[in-house]
Symmetry: C2
Subunit: 152 residues, 2 copies
């Protein structure tokens, strides 16, 4: 009768599950290089633009600095990047890839395609993906706005 509480009707559960499972799909590809999925996301950001303060990385990933800081420290301990105090602004920590971090770009070059292929199916095709992206981007934009509003 009242399907409000039905798990199968929940958008969030689908997003939560899809996110977990696709992260699991990345796992074998990343773990052989000692990386986790969130660490891979940091690399994507730094490959795009090297030498950024913690805050810019966090904003790009829509994460808090209290999530990103320990993550960066682990990556620093692995020799993937360096964290140095900013010169203009001594509060900032500038994050910069090491050679090892830059070399990972080549080593992981087939990851996007491999994972991309693994999600293609009847309803998810090169034709339908833009529509899916649009909906997810809209949801993200909406929620980012709402969540910020309710905090102040």
């Amino acid at each position: 009768m009242d399907g409000r509480f039905n798990l199968d009707n929940q958008l969030c559960f689908r997003l939560y599950t899809a996110s977990r499972l696709i992260t699991q799909a990345y796992h074998p590809l990343l773990s052989q290089h000692g990386l986790t999925y969130p660490q891979y996301l940091v690399l994507l950001v730094l490959w795009e633009k090297d030498s950024q303060p913690v805050n810019d990385i966090a904003k790009r990933l829509m994460l808090e600095t209290n999530t990103v800081t320990p993550l960066l420290k682990r990556m620093e301990a692995e020799g993937i990047l360096t964290r140095t105090q900013g010169k203009k602004d001594a509060r900032q920590m500038i994050v910069k890839l090491t050679n090892k971090g830059q070399e990972l770009k080549e080593k992981l070059s087939d990851v996007p395609e491999t994972v991309g292929r693994s999600v293609l199916c009847e309803s998810v095709t090169p034709e339908t993906v833009p529509g899916l992206f649009r909906m997810l981007d809209d949801i993200i934009g909406q929620l980012k706005h709402d969540n910020n509003e309710s905090n102040g």
Copy 2:
């Protein structure tokens, strides 16, 4: 040139972000009742069908028992449910809602609608949601299959 590594091209990042943000949207609604989002998912499962072994709950949520067990223990400590050894099979722990757990169903009755409204936007409407569900279900089905295969 080569957009393979562009964060904006990544499906997983969108799913990961959308999942996090929508979970954050649940937070104020759930935390006033002392619940987390994964705990709310357990309640959805038990409201659907009370008195289930740990394994059935884990399978329904597509989680491992080593994730679900501590979660259930915390909920037991809160007096939301009970865990009792199965009679037919002494290995099973049967999870059953307490009165408090059943009463939460009424107290949380407006949560699905509230969260549902908060994600509606131009491209996500009652008309387009079934298509979105279809794609997410396909992705989940695909990855569940793949991930199980690669383990054995």
